[in-house]
């Protein structure tokens, strides 16, 4: 392992390690550290929302916090899709909360107490599946509501007739690329932040090991930068969850209304 050579491998944090081996029909379905953090995220999200289920007329703080989140998603769908957006609240809310809590839990400094936090949203297998689910909803809703008329999504109003084949191809391409951009955006943002933090922490450790002078010169500024970037990462965790939910709602709007 890289650490044995006195270096910190910034990519090691993304390694998936099986905790319980399990194989079904030739597929390796082992319960890994990634699955473990999905379980933790699920439990935390469920606990958080369950705390808001007291259904009081005058809400307490916890209930208020949960209602802020549901109201936020509800308003976003109402603004982007309209009245029809209401039926997508459960899905978009689950998506937003799942990604947000996964991002935030992955940032927790649990290494201090010996645990290894793992951010499963920094794996494109995970973000890809989430993006595909959103994209499938768009396709299913689009073809269910509009049938083959859904293809008119790729021909904007007022396109001159000779341009239609070319525009159709371009629009189709930009439509098909959506799940990839959706998945890669979240995966890259989460991975970049964690790599950067790990690289800086490597600077702190190696600088401190190299002696007092270099330690003061390298480690202290790196540590200050880490604090600032950690704050930035918390912001990014929220923003990426929001962007994923927002783009999903915009794509669903296309499927509902065809422009």
């Amino acid at each position: 392992m890289a650490a044995e050579q006195g270096k910190v491998d910034p990519m090691h944090q993304f390694t998936i390690e099986p905790l319980v081996r399990w194989e079904v029909a030739g597929y390796d379905l082992s319960f890994t550290n990634s699955a473990m953090w999905m379980l933790v995220t699920t439990l935390v999200v469920a606990l958080f929302v369950a705390g808001g289920l007291k259904r009081q007329l005058v809400p307490g703080r916890w209930q208020m916090a949960v209602e802020v989140f549901t109201g936020f998603i509800d308003d976003m769908l109402e603004a982007n899709i309209g009245k029809e957006g209401r039926k997508y609240v459960p899905y978009v809310f689950s998506l937003f909360m799942f990604i947000l809590f996964a991002n935030l839990l992955g940032l927790l400094p649990l290494g201090v107490v010996g645990l290894h936090p793992f951010t499963f949203t920094s794996h494109f297998t995970v973000t890809g599946v989430l993006a595909l689910i959103s994209f499938s909803i768009v396709l299913i809703v689009g073809f269910w509501k509009h049938g083959f008329h859904f293809f008119s999504l790729f021909v904007p109003h007022g396109t001159p007739a000779p341009m239609i084949p070319i525009i159709f191809l371009i629009e189709l391409f930009s439509f098909l690329i959506r799940p990839f951009s959706l998945a890669l955006r979240l995966f890259v943002a989460m991975m970049a932040g964690h790599v950067l933090l790990k690289v800086l922490s490597g600077f702190v450790i190696n600088g401190a090991n190299a002696g007092i002078g270099i330690g003061a010169l390298v480690s202290i500024p790196s540590f200050a930068l880490m604090i600032a970037i950690s704050a930035l990462e918390i912001l990014v965790a929220g923003i990426q969850a929001y962007v994923f939910a927002l783009l999903t709602s915009l794509y669903i709007n296309d499927a509902e209304h065809l422009h």
Partner: protein, 164 residues
């Protein structure tokens, strides 16, 4: 980069457990809890809207009550004004009638007095004529020694008096 290096060994596990746990979040939290939370919010919004509507209704009722009171007040005011005007008119009519009666009485007395004056005056005039006739006879008798008949004297006196 473990995401790519471990792709072939881990993709099945990643996808499987993501579907399991995201499915759990969707069905337990998204479908199970979120509608209840939102129903609570909607219920509260309805309650607030209902309270506001009730307050508005009470306010409208108070306004209507006040308007009715004002109308009643105005009506009774107008009625009082009318009664006052009628009483004034009646009093004016009564005093006018009394005045007219007094005027009539005064005029009657005036006429009576005038008639009395006129009668006295004619009587006096007649007396003056008589005296004048007698005086004229007497003057003619004394101055001319001629006897003038009463009729002649009377004619002459009347003529003379007529010229006065």
């Amino acid at each position: 980069m473990p995401q790519i290096a471990q792709l072939m060994e881990t993709y099945a596990s990643q996808i499987f457990w993501l579907l399991v746990f995201f499915g759990a979040v969707y069905f337990i939290v998204g479908r199970g809890m979120v509608p209840k939370v939102m129903a609570t919010v909607a219920q509260r919004d309805d309650q607030i809207a209902a309270d506001l509507a009730a307050a508005q209704a009470a306010r409208d009722a108070a306004d209507a009550e006040e308007a009715a009171w004002r109308a009643r007040e105005n009506a009774s005011h107008a009625a009082a004004q009318e009664i006052l005007a009628k009483a004034k008119a009646e009093a004016a009519k009564a005093s006018e009638a009394k005045l007219a009666a007094a005027q009539a009485r005064i005029e009657a007395r005036l006429a009576e007095a005038e008639a009395a004056i006129a009668a006295t005056r004619t009587a006096a005039l007649a007396e003056i004529e008589d005296v004048a006739i007698e005086v004229a006879q007497d003057i003619v008798n004394r101055l001319a020694g001629a006897e003038v008949s009463r009729a002649q004297a009377e004619t002459a006196v009347k003529e003379a008096l007529h010229h006065v």
